[in-house]
């Protein structure tokens, strides 16, 4: 029989798998929808600060590893038969929300790598973008904290 500690360890592994995969989903949506389909985001913005280029490079690289790594972790949870969907989805919401909040505040605004869309009334876009991010994080926290508490007994 699994002890409380083991269950706790597994729950956090489930959450991490979700977070990594969520970061991957957010990066994928960002790239396909906003860069390639809508052409709202630009590949490069002349006002990008050097630190923005570095941050973008690391984030972009990391999100590939997160997507694939998150899915392999998912496969690992399944083969150990310890997968639970509630904390996993909680992790996904956390991952998407945190990526989007970092992208929407630090990368877009502070480092100015590019704007959400090149229009007059950018404030609306920024507000909606970041509010959705915060809502996702709260939802993710709600789901993960609840299943963690349950696991902790």
């Amino acid at each position: 029989m699994a002890t409380n500690n083991v269950v706790k360890k597994y729950t956090s592994r489930i959450i991490w798998s979700g977070i990594l995969f969520g970061i991957g989903i957010a990066a994928f949506i960002d790239e396909t929808v906003f860069h390639q389909l809508l052409h709202w985001h630009h590949f490069y913005d002349k006002s990008t600060k050097e630190i923005g280029l570095v941050s973008d490079g690391f984030f972009h690289a990391f999100s590939w590893f997160a997507t694939i790594g998150g899915l392999f972790l998912f496969a690992d949870l399944r083969r150990r038969q310890i997968l639970q969907f509630k904390p996993w989805f909680g992790g996904i919401f956390l991952g998407i929300g945190m990526f989007q909040l970092y992208d929407g505040t630090i990368q877009h605004k502070l480092m100015r790598i590019h704007q959400i869309r090149y229009v007059e009334n950018i404030l609306m876009y920024d507000l909606i973008w970041n509010i959705i991010a915060v809502v996702l994080i709260i939802l993710g926290l709600f789901l993960t904290v609840r299943s963690r508490n349950k696991a902790g007994g």
């Binding site: 590949f43 973008d56 690289a61 990391f62 694939i68 392999f72 690992d76 083969r79």
Partner: protein
Amino acid sequence: MENHHHIPAVSLFNQLILALPFILGVVLYVICVVYSNRTYKKWPISRLLFWFGGCFLAIITVLGPLAVRAHVHFPTHMIGHLFLGMLAPLLMVVAMPMTLLLRTLPVRYARLITKVLRSKIIGHLTNPIITGILNVGGLWIIYTTNLYILMHENILFHVVVHLHVFLAGYFFTISIIYLDPTIHRYSFAFRTIVFILALAGHGILSKYIYANPPNGVNGYEAEVGAMIMYYGGDLVDVILIVILFYQWYKATAPKPNAI
């Protein structure tokens, strides 16, 4: 010819020098397969095809119309770079040439080779930090200094840079995924972290090229080339990441009676 910037066309001789090692590689690999198949169980056809594919991509990058066009057209140059420095090495590594060589050679020669594999130099050349720096650092030097122009004007630079791009790509690949016998081994986590850093360096350089075209390249060609580098690099590296994580996944399989 659309030779801007007075770049001399790349000579056939120059092209052949670079293609020769890969043509030899194909011949030697086939000889080893045929010869060793007499003693051991059949070498998988898939590996033979991977080897052909890798050598083919390397050859068309350095010899023929793609090579000639790459000399004067930056986006084509970038496609060649992805072939020679990333995709060709990856396909060739998957073909496991060292394993094939070791089973083909008589034992005493095979022992000599494993002795070389144990050496300090090979140890350094399979350390991902060192191969990552040789690989991505080399690219930074090519595209942010005058080396890019020099390699188009001088045969020696041309040959050395192309060989470096291929070899750096090959050694980087074998330092990340272990398919052939690997003596000096590093943990999965360590290789993953170094790989993320290397991919980030590659992506940052792509965007840097987009904003700061290398000497001799016009702005539009630099932008297209940079995007080919950024997204093309991603595509090839996804294959490498999947292989790395699959090996990690298999290595951490729970023992049957552990649960």
